[in-house]
């Protein structure tokens, strides 16, 4: 338990440090946050036009799409806001830039992933929570359940990004493939689950785990299902474990880039 709080303190310190560094360029930071909120809002306009014309799609309505968007955006925002280096992992490995992180006296992976923040992430996170509260208007129980699911999505996404990013240790240049993989996951996560059947559905609960990112949380929120909630939490922890395992397995194959690098 003590160890867990230690890690939380570490995450808090990195968050404060990264935020301060971004706020040195206040204009750029806030313009990126606002642009991301506007960007996501444009998607909601698309869905509102769609559902105005076709009110229900296989039992899904506008509020269901808002829910998957809310969970995905908030989860993605928190994941890349807190652990921005998780998506930069392929580049760091490819260029041999892990050396500076290897010198830290504590476990490598947490320091590495926490070391960077993406400004637009906060736009995603704010958008996710705001649209859920404004459009779905949940009661307190559903709001807390929603917050829980944004956290499971955050954990799952961090694990997933580390897992696919670790491919770079094994196949060399994995920048492009991991980027497409990430885009595919986020894209699938923001469309109604009922569109997909058969083999594709299987894919969405394995290689592209959109099912665990947003479909199960949306269903659990709708039905207040304890079973689905537990499955979602379990899936997030398994993905995090897989990410850790893949990273440390791959690290044995890491070759230094012999770069001089200093972290303040």
């Amino acid at each position: 338990m003590n160890k867990f709080f230690n890690w939380l303190l570490l995450a808090g310190s990195y968050l404060r440090l990264n935020l301060r560094s971004h706020l040195e360029y206040r204009g750029a930071f806030f313009s990126q946050v606002i642009a991301m909120i506007l960007n996501n809002s444009l998607w909601l306009i698309f869905w509102s036009i769609f559902f105005k014309r076709f009110p229900v799609l296989h039992g899904w309505d506008f509020n269901d799409v808002i829910t998957v968007w809310g969970v995905t955006a908030a989860g993605y925002g928190l994941a890349t806001g807190l652990c921005g280096n998780a998506i930069a992992l392929p580049t760091l490995v490819l260029r041999g830039q892990l050396d500076a992180w290897l010198m830290y006296p504590r476990a490598l992976l947490p320091h590495l992933v926490l070391g960077k923040m993406t400004a637009t992430s906060w736009g995603d996170a704010i958008f996710g929570y705001a649209v859920f509260v404004l459009f779905v208007r949940p009661d307190l129980e559903h709001f807390f359940l929603f917050v829980l699911f944004t956290l499971t999505t955050t954990v799952l996404l961090i694990g997933f990004f580390v897992l696919i990013g670790s491919l770079s240790f094994f196949i060399g240049n994995a920048e492009s493939i991991t980027e497409q993989w990430r885009f595919s996951l986020i894209t699938f996560s923001t469309y109604p689950a009922t569109l997909f059947h058969g083999g594709v559905k299987l894919l969405l609960y394995s290689f592209i785990p959109a099912g665990f990112v947003s479909y199960l949380p949306a269903e659990a929120l709708k039905t207040s299902s304890v079973g689905l909630t537990l499955i979602t939490i379990f899936a997030a922890l398994v993905m995090l474990g897989l990410g850790f395992a893949a990273f440390y397995l791959g690290l044995r194959r890491y070759e230094s880039g012999n770069l001089m690098d200093l972290k303040g």
């Binding site: 076709f54 296989h58 885009f183």
Partner: protein, 265 residues
């Protein structure tokens, strides 16, 4: 003439260098396949649900081919504004000014050369995926030729929009936010995600004359529903858009140039 050949050569070099990155090209096609598959499922269910063979004058087959073209256009867009942003931020913009060529035309040539290669590869993969998903298109050959006629000005229009966003770097610290809004504007009010015919009737006339609509919507619509009248209308709207955005680029670029300070020896 000599000057034209210079820019044509830049475009050719950009196209050839883009061809060298086949890995990047093929991974982009994965995303295109995912998007087309999702759209297919979305629209298949929507057509089933609505119980009609046509939505906004589009059959399911036409809708999928329409979206194939709009996505191929959208995903073929090279990084224009990011490069300008970088040139301004790093100061390499100043070194471009002493070269015996116009900076905007240099960027335009680079953009067109790169975009042609990316569009052809996207279209090739898109046609393959869509043919497998909904069968061969019921399209006419004239649609293909009309698309080819509408594409050059569509690419120029998109370039001008991106160039304007990139010039924003002279005034603001980071243009990525502006770019995000511009690209989503192209997607939403430019008809990339759904044809403008499915928008509320009251906003359709306005959306159709905006430059955004003439980048993806108009060429894609000509592809699935080609008529000579529409072709002439699209070309005239594109020319108007190029004149409008071109003037804006000219004015902003002139003001921006005054903000360049060159020091050193």
């Amino acid at each position: 003439m000599n000057s034209l050949r210079k820019y044509a050569w830049i475009a050719f070099t950009a196209a050839r260098s883009n061809l060298a990155y086949l890995g990047e090209v093929s991974s982009r096609l994965i995303f295109l396949t995912v998007i087309l598959y999702i759209f297919l499922r979305l629209w298949q269910d929507t057509y089933d649900y609505s119980g009609t063979g046509k939505l906004g004058d589009f059959s399911l087959n036409q809708m999928l081919w329409y979206l194939t073209v709009t996505e191929a256009i959208l995903l073929s867009g090279p990084k224009v504004s990011q490069l300008i942003d970088e040139d301004v931020r790093t100061g390499s913009f100043a070194t471009h000014l002493v070269r015996p060529m116009s900076y905007p035309l240099y960027r335009l040539a680079m953009c067109l050369g790169e975009r042609v290669v990316r569009f052809i590869s996207n279209m090739f993969a898109g046609c393959l995926v869509t043919s497998v998903l909904v069968g061969p298109s019921s399209l006419q050959w004239s649609g293909f030729w009309f698309l080819l006629l509408a594409l050059p000005l569509a690419f120029v229009l998109d370039f001008l929009g991106n160039f304007l966003v990139g010039l924003g770097a002279f005034w603001i610290e980071d243009t990525s936010g502006l770019l995000l809004i511009y690209s989503r504007g192209t997607m939403l009010i430019g008809g990339v995600l759904l044809p403008l015919e499915l928008y509320p009737t009251s906003v359709q006339p306005l959306l159709k004359i905006l430059p955004f609509a003439n980048i993806a919507y108009a060429p894609a619509r000509l592809f699935v529903n080609p008529t000579l009248t529409d072709l002439l209308l699209v070309l005239s709207r594109q020319l108007f858009g190029v004149a409008l955005l071109g003037s804006a680029v000219y004015l902003v670029y002139r003001v921006a140039q005054r903000r360049v300070f060159i020091n050193g020896g």
